[in-house]
Symmetry: C2
Amino acid sequence: MSLDNILKQSLSRWMTGDGPNNSVAISSRVRLARNLAEYPFPGRASPSQLEEVEQKVRRWWNTGGLESLGITDYISIKDIPENERLALADKHLISPKLARQGYGGVLVNKDESVSVMVNEEDHLRIQSLMSGSQLREAWNLASQVDDLFDAGFCYAWSSQTGYLTCCPTNVGTGMRASIMLHLPGLAFSGQLALVLGTISKVGVMVRGMFGEGSEAQGNVYQISNQITLGQREEDIIEALNRVTDQVICQELDARQKLAGTDNLALSDRVWRAYGILANARVITSTEAMEYVSLLRLGLDLNILEGLNPRILQELLVFAQPGYLQKIYNQVLSPRQRDVKRAELIRELVKK
Amino acid sequence: MSLDNILKQSLSRWMTGDGPNNSVAISSRVRLARNLAEYPFPGRASPSQLEEVEQKVRRWWNTGGLESLGITDYISIKDIPENERLALADKHLISPKLARQGYGGVLVNKDESVSVMVNEEDHLRIQSLMSGSQLREAWNLASQVDDLFDAGFCYAWSSQTGYLTCCPTNVGTGMRASIMLHLPGLAFSGQLALVLGTISKVGVMVRGMFGEGSEAQGNVYQISNQITLGQREEDIIEALNRVTDQVICQELDARQKLAGTDNLALSDRVWRAYGILANARVITSTEAMEYVSLLRLGLDLNILEGLNPRILQELLVFAQPGYLQKIYNQVLSPRQRDVKRAELIRELVKK
């Protein structure tokens, strides 16, 4: 298959970049942690119990339990070549943990807006992923999937606390809602630390683009709810929405000021970033993300044109180690990845 | 006039890059310091004496004293707009000192291989400039010019020491022979300090591309004779030739090794340099020279192609403050120069 086709077929719905506030908001995600009442949490379950959970979910899906969602495949992690597992994590369809642990599985629908991990930290991790700022829509979709599972299984649930989960930080709603924001304006104008520091005081977490423990790359930050217990899902979503709307406003404001005060310096940085991406022969992921962030900012501010702004989403996924191995269909050393990444980026930027 | 035409007409013979050893040797130059016996050195001469010297030289040229050289113009420094004086220095036709002092003049032939400064540090500074490593040829040409002047004027000369000059370091032959070498191979492989340190122990001086007191930019070094007294001109030229031939060999050797050991890292640096030059919107002279040095190395090693290797010579001259002001026909602040330089380089690299 040509590189072009591989990449086209690799675009998840959330990567298209056509959602609301798409100049800042990359994607919105809601995930729900759920467990089956009759089994211990995956971490304490025996191999045969884990196997039983997977079998049960699979059978239920096979008999049409998720028919309305258009889920076409149940992917068992152990059936995927090791080097391709990370590619699924790069697309945020599974967690890096599931990719690494080597067992469990995932249900994915056609446009990859829904994925359900089985036997990750919890028996079920229902996830919906959407483009731009669509936290409400993502919640609605995840909730629909949850209702379907609820009809087929008996969830571990307590009337006092709500859903029971492996990790206490998820108990209650079991929900983590998050939004990925591209914040180059705040970064370049030196306001990022202040803005992110302020919002982290109102029950919101800020992380890099691969969630917990990941570093921010390319000025992309994930903002999510901290509290899962004692609040209604709708209220959590609304609160997070208010915060992100504010951050988006501040980012747009910072960009306008940047463009106004010294457009030439910014323009120089943007064009150099383009020049490097279009010509480098070896490039690390961190460096690539730094430059593509500038490139995307340049596109948003009309400093340069003729490139699809989706380049940011594409690099967020395709330039990651796992996806590179999938695209080039081989296990790559870090150095080889840097070479192939440069090759891929030159292709992407050429268009 | 279009930029293209201005640049075409601005190419001195030495800038064409077609001389011997042109992958390393940029240009060869010989200059002879001479003074007229009946006048004090310019630094001690009265304004009317300086005027007399200029008048004398001018009249003699007008009556055909230099006919065989094709010198078409006597340029009086005070007649040139201030911002264009530096452009002559950028092309090495006059010294920065003459450009700054605002009086004196210069005779230049059609292909700019000969220039004679009048009333710089000495009454006459005869200079020949050639492409590549042509020290002998440059000496022959300078010597012919010298003979012509010798027939028309009475030089300050002593049978014991030779030609008398304003500065004692020039007494004797009054000759400074120099060659400009592009040494990126030695620079990137870390051998430059050693090589230049060694040759400076054998009576050879190493300087930046604008001679005394100038910093090396873009890995371009000027190597010249230190001694002017007590040696025959031919012997000085031969000694300098031997040293430069060695340096050229070492440079070519270093390039081959660089290309052999980690071609990818080198290729990456070369292509990024190209990407930056082709896209930057603001660029300093030092930075431009750093990248064009890499670009030229890449052309010499066939890492990239389709560009005229003369780009190095062009940037050595056209990207300098004086020449930029001439090309764009206006006085430019340092910041404006960085912008215009970037604009010019994008044009030059596009071809």
